[in-house]
């Protein structure tokens, strides 16, 4: 059991009367890549928001790295080692690439509390290194994000997770808005993470991508986990059947 990185027990989130996430029991082992699939509104992003402390859960337990955690905000989750690419890109449009990569954890040249002077050179160099590592090409780092394509913006968000050492990386539909070439780039980043043994939770609607990249597929439906499938023991049709509700796994039959 010691190699379990993340475990949730009965994780639940209500928005008023809406049960966006209901009693989710989920487990991720170190080095494992797991995909979360499910229809629009199935509760996938809600699940991520509870784990990363963006929102506070209604009830349930989250055990990260062997300890029960109660992250008050995304910064705490990040400090504990969870890097997240959120579905609605958490980028500041009016800032340039290095500023976005280091948003909230800027490199400091001279510490003066809130008026600390920034280490622009250091951040630029680290940004270049991160973009190189992830094979992302961005012509001018000093451009504001506003002037960039959707694909470039997404690459910046993903490069950000790869810049900082982490114990778990969560990506919420990282390739949804990307062209073929950029999707391939992102998938390469994920493969690199796999070979480095870094665990990943990948939320995706792309069946081909999921079967290419992950070890296990967890299906959400109407706020509940309805299937937990080893990639080697399932097929695309079966996953679709779970997503649409045509089929329910016996151990989750109460969720139907």
């Amino acid at each position: 059991m010691s190699d379990v990185i993340l475990k949730t027990e009965g994780l639940t989130k209500y928005y008023g009367g809406l049960h966006a996430l209901d009693n989710a029991n989920f487990e991720l082992r170190s080095g494992e890549h797991v995909a979360i699939m499910g229809d629009n509104g199935a509760g996938k992003s809600t699940f991520v928001r509870q784990i990363t402390g963006v929102e506070q859960r209604t009830r349930g337990k989250i055990i990260f790295n062997g300890q029960e955690v109660h992250f008050k905000g995304p910064l705490e989750a990040r400090e504990a080692g969870i890097e997240t690419v959120f579905q609605n890109l958490a980028l500041a449009d009016d800032l340039d690439v290095p500023s976005n990569l280091f948003l909230g954890r800027e490199k400091i040249w001279l510490n003066l509390g809130p008026f600390s002077i920034l280490d622009f050179k250091g951040m630029k160099a680290a940004t270049e290194a991160a973009l190189k590592r992830t094979a992302v090409k961005i012509p001018n780092l000093a451009n504001t994000i506003r002037n960039m394509s959707g694909g470039q913006r997404q690459c910046v968000a993903i490069a950000r997770t790869a810049t900082f050492a982490s114990k778990l990386i969560i990506m919420d539909e990282p390739t949804a808005a990307l062209g073929v070439q950029e999707t391939a780039q992102v998938e390469n980043i994920i493969r690199t993470l796999k070979s480095n043994g870094e665990p990943v939770i990948l939320i995706s609607h792309n069946m081909r991508q999921v079967f290419d990249l992950v070890d296990r597929i967890v299906v959400f439906r109407r706020g509940r986990i309805v299937a937990n499938l080893k990639k080697s023991q399932t097929t695309g049709e079966e996953v679709v059947a779970y997503i649409t509700g045509a089929k329910t796994a016996p151990e989750f039959s109460d969720a139907a």
């Binding site: 995304p74 009016d94 800032l95 948003l103 800027e106 470039q152 062209g179």
Partner: protein
């Protein structure tokens, strides 16, 4: 194949770049000066710009509002608005002046208590203390109670003016000590403005404070998700804005050698207009102190130009109103154009 080509295109598209807003404002300033210069030679037979006295009057006049505008600029960049600056000037001015009076004036407010001829640090500290309290209230209301900044600072605008009027039941306070007068003597207001402007230009450009101010104004949710303590930062932004209003009040009071409860009236709108004319976006996230300084000079040139051409004061107010509306309209237009480019 077409998909790959399209993906490649994404990297080259959207290269179109417009002039920085500061550059536009600067060109506007140059054009204005040329117009007044031409009018000066044709109507008055003399130069508008090359007149040392006119220049120094113009620049000391706008410097006070300029100090206020520096504070307002950072509030606007953070995605908010501050309407309380003018009233904070009024309240700070009255209270600070009552501790800056000279004993030569037998009816000085605190003469019985013996609080006359005090060293200038005392009225300065008290004045900045008044502004600080206003700033803390603004900051708590906006950052922690989460009132819209428009509402919170509107409340302060009314309240602080009330304090200014209540303090002496509307009577002006005069006869400051020579030490206090020195704050506003000669080009001192201009030097103070330049110091403040350069300092905040550097802060907004090179420090964590600046980076987080732009980040919050650009995308508050993103700033929060990135772990920035948005509440604490916004609190600080409003406190600093109020302190700068307090500083502007001290300069204005010293320069006028009197304090009046209505000091600073509508200065907050002038400050906002200076920022917007200088390219600071009311949507937040964009703009600079340099832009605001150019906006300030545009204001100065227009009003000193009107006086130069002996245009009636009523017209000045009408034009001022038109400038404020025009500047906001320009900002809206910029935002729309930006949205279309994306």
């Amino acid at each position: 194949m077409t998909d790959v080509a399209a993906a490649n295109d994404m990297f080259t598209a959207r290269k179109r770049k417009s002039l920085p807003a500061e550059m536009n404002a600067f060109l506007g300033l140059v054009v204005l000066i040329l117009i007044f210069e031409a009018l000066g030679w044709s109507l008055m037979g003399q130069s508008f710009l090359f007149n040392k006295l006119r220049l120094s009057i113009m620049i000391t006049q706008v410097a006070v509002v300029g100090i206020l505008a520096v504070g307002v600029t950072q509030v606007i960049i953070s995605g908010g608005i501050d309407l309380s600056g003018g009233s904070i000037i009024g309240a700070t001015s009255m209270i600070a002046m009552s501790f800056a009076q000279s004993s030569v004036f037998p009816r000085a407010i605190y003469i019985e208590q013996g609080w006359v001829d005090l060293p200038i640090v005392i009225p300065i500290a008290i004045g900045l203390g008044v502004a600080l309290i206003c700033g803390i209230i603004n900051g708590v209301l906006v950052a922690y109670v989460k009132l819209p900044s428009f509402i919170a600072t509107l409340g302060m605008m009314v309240t602080a003016r009330g304090v200014a009027l209540w303090y002496t039941e509307g009577k002006p306070i005069s006869f400051p000590t020579d030490g206090f007068k020195a704050i506003g003597e000669g080009l001192m207001p201009v030097w103070i403005f330049i110091t403040v402007a350069v300092l905040f230009w550097l802060i907004l450009r090179y420090t964590l404070y600046g980076k987080h101010t732009y980040a919050i104004g650009s995308n508050e949710a993103a700033a929060r998700m990135s772990g920035i303590n948005v509440e604490r930062h916004l609190f600080l932004v409003y406190v600093i804005a109020a302190l700068l209003a307090g500083l502007a009040a001290l300069v204005l009071t010293a320069r006028s050698q009197t304090a009046q409860a209505m000091f600073g009236t509508t200065n907050e709108l002038d400050a906002i207009a200076m920022a917007v004319i200088g390219g600071v976006s009311l949507a937040g996230g964009r703009g600079s102190i340099l832009g605001t300084a150019i906006g300030m000079l545009i204001f100065g040139v227009i009003f000193s130009g009107f006086i130069f051409l002996s245009v009636d004061a009523y017209y000045q107010n009408m034009v001022k109103g038109a400038i404020i509306v025009g500047a906001v309209a320009l900002d809206q237009w910029r935002q729309k154009r930006q949205a279309m480019e994306i």
